[in-house]
Structure formats: C-alpha cells, structure tokens
Amino acid sequence: MTTPLYKKTVREIRDAVRSGALTAVEVTEAHLARIADVDPKVDAFTQIWTDEALAQAAAVDAKVKQGIDPGPLAGVPVGVKELICTRTGKTTCASKILENFRSPYDATIIQKLDAAGAVFLGKVNMDEFAMGSSTERSTIKTTKNPWNLKCVPGGSSGGSAAAISADECAIALGSDTGGSIRQPAALCGCVGIKPTYGRVSRFGLVAFASSLDQIGPLTKNVEDAALSLNTLCGRDPRDATSADLPVPDFTKALTGDVKGLRIGLPKEYFTEALNAEMREKVEAAVDVFKSGGAEIVPVSLPHTDYAIATYYIICTAEASANLARFDGVRYGYRNPAAKTVEEMYVLSKSEAFGPEVRRRIMLGTYVLSSGYYDAYYLKAQKVRRLIKKDFDDAFEKCDFVMGPTSPIPTFEFGAKTENPLEMYLADIYTISVNLATLPGISIPCGLTASGLPAGLQLIGRPFGEETLLRAAHCYEQTSGTTLGDPPIA
C-alpha cells in the first residue's frame, strides 16, 4: 500500500513537485479532501481557501512545466494561524472584535512562503488573541485533540498542532509568546519550534506581547521544521527587532549524531509538579541521548519559580497597549448602541473581547499604573534579566537544556477553564524560554498509558537553532518512539 499523499512530509512533497513526479494540484486536492474528511471531527480549520489554494498550486505546476524554479517549498500545503495577517480571507484572531476583519496586507512570512512556492489551505484555530493554553478561548469553534477528541489540543496554537497531527497540512504556522507553539505540539504529538526572538519577522503577526512573541512552524518531523525555518527566518527591514544575521541551511545541521553534545538537565524542571508518566518519558529520552554519546550535565535555573509571575506582568502590560487599537474607530467591531466616543470604546471592547482577554488587559493596565509600575512592571523586568542570566550560566556548562515541554499530557475540555491560574501552570516549562528570548523545540517522546502524547523540550543558546535541530533530529531517528497515527479515521 502506498502512503496517502496527505501523510507525506515537506521534504517528500517538495521533491516530488519539483521533479514533476507529483503536481502541486494533486497534493493540494489530497489535503483538501483530508480536511473534508477529518476536520468535522477535529475542527482545526477556521477557513478553507479551496479556490485560492488550487490557483496557487496551479501556478506552482505552471512554473515546473516552464522550467522555472518553483521554490524550496513548492506545493507544500500550509495552515495559517488566525492571527497572521493575510490578504486572503479574514484575520480574526479568533475574536469577535475582528470577526469580519480583512487585512490589507500580507505578513512578511506569508510573502516569503508564497515566494517559496507554498500553498495556503486556509486558517487554523487558536485561543482568542493567543491568550490561552487550550484553544478553548476561541470564539470561532472548539478544536479537538486528534489523539482524544474529548481533550484539548493545547494552545494557543491548538489549531496548528491539531491540523498537523491529523495530517491536514504539512506545515502549520504558529506563534509562541509563552509556549503557544511548543505546548500544543507536545499535546498533539508533533514537532513545534519557537525560534530565537528576532529570528523570524513579526511584521504581520497581530501582537499579543511584542517582546515575547515569535512565529514558528509546527510540522510532522524535525527535518520539515528545518526546511520551514530556511524560508521563515531572516532580517526584515519592516521589523526593527528582527536579527541581522545570516540564515544557514538548517538541514545541514541534521547530522544524525549527538556525540560530544553536552545536555543540561535543570533540577527545577523535575519536581512534583511534573506528572510521573511525563517524567518517565523524559528520562527515557535522556537515556537515548546518553547512548548516542551525549554528555548529561546537571544544571540549575534558580529563578524558574518566578517565571510565571514575571511573564504575566510583562505579557499583560504589553498586551494592554497592543490591544488598545481595537477600538471600533477604524476597523473591527463597533457597538451600534454607542452614542459617545467613550461609549464606543467601553461598549465595543466589553462586548467583543472574551473574558480572558479582558482579564489580561485589566491586569496589564494595572501593573503599568502610576504607583504600581515600580512594584510590578519594573521588578518583573529585573527578574526577567535574572531568568536570562540563569540560562547564560547554564550554557557555560552545556550546549542546550532539556526537559519536559508540559508538566501534564492533554486534559479534557473545561477541566481548567474555571481556574485561570491552573491553566497558566500548563506553561511552566515554556515561558522562561520566551522571557530569555531563546529558541526552544518540542518533539514527541512517546505516549502515555492512555495513549496521549508526551513532549520533550530542548532549549538552546540564542540563535542556536541548529544545535536543537541536530539533537532533536538524532533523537527522532534513533529513539524508536514513533507515535504512529492518532485514533481518528
């Protein structure tokens, strides 16, 4: 039996399309059919761009026919998170306030992917404005975890992770502010990488917390992540915070060995907070690296306990300003009952922002208020520097840090929505990475007894994506822990 087209990797698709062995239209049609088949159960996609996708695919095929280079991602089907601006379709951020918003421009990464020959199948679900860890905060629909349809896919890039896990596309774009790529990747059993802050242009990513946000790909395997980064990374003159560094061919880093690499295991990541089964999986992964010739070094990240508090001060402060523009003046929802300017603001925002978004705007407004600024925002900035220093110190002893991505596997719908603090704990291992502006990757490291994926997180030095990809790829090739297919038809 041949592998169905929708199971093919980025590498396989683009090689076949470039050589003419497959047409981009065939690939696109296969994925659209897969979406039609499984998405009614998974609900990852919020918009499906059938006509536009087929037209893009046809353009790729025309290039191949004419002998024009169709690009390094020729014919690769992509799902786009709802908060990345596209001229095609809507950019809703899964919020009522932007439910009919159409962006007048394409994000830089959309332009890059388009130029690379990728085909956009549509948009995928997320927590409203990326604020959440379960995608339950979406106002559009409820995305399910393909491994257990009663459970959440993680978040905020839950639609991206579920779409990859259910083989609905080959690359799903996500964004990661505190774990929003890595945590859903872990919960859905796929690969998700958050590049170093500044690696990928943020122009066209609707901002949640500007100093933490970073775009990254979710893919079926590590090599696909490397191929995606080859196109996504690089300096963008429209993003002053993007790094002016050369972009390597990330696939060259995939040597297949980890000999001599020093892996730091932070003791703070292996406490009671970590679910026993997850711990077991991670420890088994450590053994795989050990037998591959890597050296395991104990390290300490002493300020880990302060990460959540620090994160929720900084991200809410920035969000309170970033979301101020959704005021009903130029675009977005405007409450028709408003009679004054102030009413327009208050009524529109109160009605069209969901409870978690309102909570964070209020928190952020509070921590920036005069009289509280020093105690909260300024102190959080200081602790942020200490957290970064923890990693700098650890990297004196090791080449990357490793641990679990999430303390727990996926959970049932509604289990944590009533208690925001409990939800915030889902990100305890991921948010430090954003605070320290480091790269982090989550890869699958087995299934729990009840058949739920566990995720292994590798955290690298600034712009050390190559080391992470090398180690993750080696693990993927040698561990023998492939998850197999999720139990959806």
């Binding site: 950019t91 421009y105 994000a107 002053a240 309170s320 300003a321 101020a324 005021d327 208020s369």
Partner: protein
C-alpha cells in the same frame, strides 16, 4: 506686593523629513484626506514601527545647536491614552531617556542677551486630525498627519515675561530655520507652542501654581496669552483667590484664555518602553558627523558679519534674522557693492517692497547682482537716490536689470552743466519774489528753488551739481 512671572515653554516642531517617523508614507499632510497613509500609521493589526534615521540625524542637529548633551543610548516609550486621533491608542514618544538633554539657547532682549535653559528635546509621532461636521453630526479622522515626525523641545522655567517668551520663540525658530529642519509654520501647526505660566512674589524661591496655555497659532498670540495669564494670576492672588492648576486654551478672537476640557482626561499615561523598537544608540562618531555638518548658526553668523562688513549690532541682527536674507546680503557685497549701502538698501527699500508684496527674499526678482549694480549706478553719479527708488520698484516688478531700465526710460541723470544752468535761469526768472526773499536772508527758500529746478528736470538733475550751480547763479546775479 510685587510679582514676577515664571514661564516654561514646550514647543512641538514638525521635522521636515520626507517620510513619516515610523513608516515610509510621505509626510505631506496637505494631500487629500487619508491619502498619505499605510497600515503602520493607521494602526492596523500586526504592523510594526521602524524609526526614520533622517529624523534622528535632524534631532541630533537640533540638540547640538541647542548646546544639549546627546544621549549615547536613548529609547522610545509608549504613552497610553485613548482618543480617535490616535491610531494605536498609544503614542510613541520618549519618556525618561530623551535623545537630547541639558542645553541652552541665547535670546536677544533689546541688545541684551539672556540664556534660557533647555531641559530636553525628544522624538515623538504626531497624531491624526479629527474634524466634526455639525450638519451631519459626524466626525471624520484624517490620518495624513498620523506618524509625522515631531521633536518636542522643553525649556527650564527660565522665562520671566511675555517678551522673553516671544524672544525665545524667535530665537528657536531662527535656529530651526538655519538648520533647515522645519518650515516652522505656526498656522499650519508645524510649530506648536505651549506655555506653563505661574507667578510668585519677587524674592520667593518656590514656584506658584501653574497653568498651561495651548492652542496658540502665532508668536504674538503666545505673547498676548502669557500677558493675559500673568495678569489674571496676579489679579486672582491679590483678590484673595487661588490659581487652579489647569490647561487653558487661547481664544484669539476674545483675547482671553479659557479652561480647556482635556482630550486625555486621565493623566496616567502608563509609559513603558516600546518593545517594537530597539534603543537609539548615537555613538561619538555619529554625533561628530552631525556636528561637522552643522551650518554656521545665527549667533556665529551675526558676530562674523558684524566684524567682516563693519555692520552695527542692529544691522547685523536684522540681516541675519533669516539665513536667506543673510545669504542674499553676502552675495550683494561679494559682487562689489559697498557693505553699508548694501545693508541700507536691503533693509530699507527692498524689505519694504517684499513686505508690501508679502514675498520671501528667496522669491525676489531683484538678484543680488542687480542690487549691487543699482548701488554702483548711484556711486558713479549716473543716477540719483530718488531715481534709484523708482528703478528698484521697477526691478522688483519686472526682474529687469537697472542698466536696462535706465536706458529704456532715458532716466540718466542730467550732468550737463549748460543744460542745468539754462533751467536755473528760467526758474529764477519765473520766481522773482522768492529770489528776493533769499537775498534778504531767508536761507530756507533755497530748498524751494532746488525743488523747482529738480521738478523742471523731472528729477534727473544731479543733486550736488544742481546745488553748486544754483548758488553760483544766485550770487552772480546779485553782483
């Protein structure tokens, strides 16, 4: 009780960069509403600001000209408040680490100079403009101005009167124009001045309660508004009242200030560092590059030109008020005109013509070379001063060279002794009574006779020659 006023000024200057400060849009806000806009200056979702380097260069130039220290490291901050003219509902500005700090500027007070301290000059973005239609009960927002580069310049509370405030604005505008960083057009809002005013008993160290005056559209308006506020404060205090700290608007029609309802009613701007921009790092080499590119500044030019051309302090001041006038003057002298005469003609006749026509010297049709030629014609005796005044008016009107006007209109001065003598004899014969009066000692009648002869020559007689010949003829006839 005697009071003294304490005034500090905040001036917003629109810097004449071609594009806006954080996007590539043209900064020309005269275009049709919402035509010079893009997703960035409209505050669309997902956009990011990128700082315009030209704005940094020009701001550093202003800072250096104001004797400020240029921060090696400064940052931009978000100033949060809601208003429909704010695209993002925060303004990108500089809060605690401005680009330029601790400078001063010298102002001229009837020949005396005084130093006004400059607290800071910082980069920020302009807001959009709201317009309200009463008929349709609608409001519109024009975002052409949203994101135009602004430099805010703040003084120390060193100003003591409306007159000093006026002198400060004059000196600042002159400096900005010399640097060619702004058109400083107050009516169009490219220069906006706000004054913080308080009064205190003479000798008291502590400041009184201040009021802030906004919405002033001219320098004279600033002068009047400050005078009004000072008087209002003193009157209030003398009558046992208290000054309320508030923002007041200047009502030019009524000549009074009125309390203003603030658009940003909440005063907590919740400033925090702008995470979308990297710090502004101006190293020594960069600062030096700008320093070397600075033009000769007003004070230096004033003193150089005074010495070089032997001008009085007053003349040097007037001529260097604008760089264009000073350049014009130096060109007139460069082609050989006498320095003092050039100054007189420039500040006198030519300036009068320019003022009457509401023209700038840069648009003037009288070239520096032609003005020099005109002065040369007087010096050589070819024409007299009175003729020259008519000729310059013609030059101003048509742009013709003075020699051509003289030729075309036959305006050459009569220097032919015989011809003038003939006319003198005729005038004396026609005015026997006045001749008699002169002979009986009435010297002032001489002027009348000169006038008669001049009129008979249609003003063309060489005045010195005429004088000599008339005296000679009167004494000859007597003998």
């Amino acid at each position: 009780m005697e009071f003294e006023a304490v005034v500090g000024m905040e001036v917003h200057v629109e810097i004449n960069s071609k594009s806006k400060v954080f996007c590539g849009c043209s900064a020309d806000f005269h275009a049709g509403p919402n035509t010079n806009v893009c997703p960035v200056c409209l505050g669309m979702p997902g956009v990011l600001p990128v700082l315009n380097v030209d704005m940094v260069n020009k701001s550093v130039a202003v800072g250096l000209a104001l004797n400020c220290a240029i921060s090696r490291w400064s940052k931009l901050d978000r100033k949060n408040y809601f208003y429909p003219d704010m695209a993002k509902n925060y303004q990108i500005s500089q809060y605690d680490l401005p680009l330029c700090q601790n400078g001063w500027i010298e102002i001229d007070l009837d020949g005396q100079t005084k130093r006004i301290g400059i607290t800071r000059a910082h980069i920020e973005e302009d807001t959009a403009r709201n317009t309200h239609t009463i008929a349709g009960n609608q409001s519109g927002v024009d975002f052409n101005r949203s994101g135009v580069a602004l430099l805010e310049i703040v003084t120390e509370p060193d100003i003591r009167s409306a007159k000093e405030a006026f002198a400060y604005l004059t000196a600042l505008k002159q400096l900005l124009q010399y640097l060619d960083v702004s058109d400083c057009n107050m009516e169009e809002g490219s220069l906006r001045a706000e004054a913080n005013i308080s009064v205190r008993p003479v000798g008291q160290e502590q400041f009184g309660t201040k009021t802030e005056v906004k919405n002033v559209a001219s320098f004279s308006g600033v002068f009047k508004a400050i005078e009004f506020e000072i008087a209002r404060h003193i009157k209030l205090i003398n009558s046992g009242g208290k000054v309320v700290q508030e923002t007041r608007g200047w009502d030019a029609d009524r000549g009074i200030t009125v309390p203003q309802r603030l658009k940003e009613s909440a005063h907590d701007y919740r400033y925090f560092p702008e995470p979308d921009l990297v710090p502004i790092v101006v190293d020594e080499a960069w600062e030096q590059r700008i320093r070397e590119s600075l033009p000769e500044l007003p004070a230096a030019r004033r003193s150089r030109m005074g010495t070089q051309y032997g001008l009085s302090a007053y003349d040097a001041n007037v001529i260097t008020l604008s760089q264009d006038t000073a350049n014009y003057y130096e060109r007139v002298v460069a082609v050989g005109a006498d320095a003092k005469k050039a100054a007189n003609w420039l500040m006198g006749e030519l300036q009068a013509l320019l003022s009457a026509a509401k023209q700038e010297i840069t648009d003037c049709r009288v070239t520096p070379a032609d003005l020099a030629a005109l002065i040369g014609l007087i010096d050589s005796g070819a024409i007299n001063g009175k003729m020259a005044k008519d000729i310059i008016a013609e030059m101003f009107e048509t742009g013709k060279a003075p020699q051509d006007i003289v030729k075309e209109q036959g305006l050459s001065q009569i220097t032919d002794t015989g011809a003038i003598e003939d006319i003198i004899r005729k005038v004396l014969a026609d005015n026997p009574a006045q001749v008699g009066q002169f002979r009986s000692g009435k010297e002032q009648v001489f002027g009348f006779l000169v006038g008669q002869v001049m009129r008979a020559t249609q003003g063309k007689a060489n005045p010195a020659l005429l004088n000599d010949l008339l005296r000679r003829e009167l004494s000859r006839q007597e003998n």
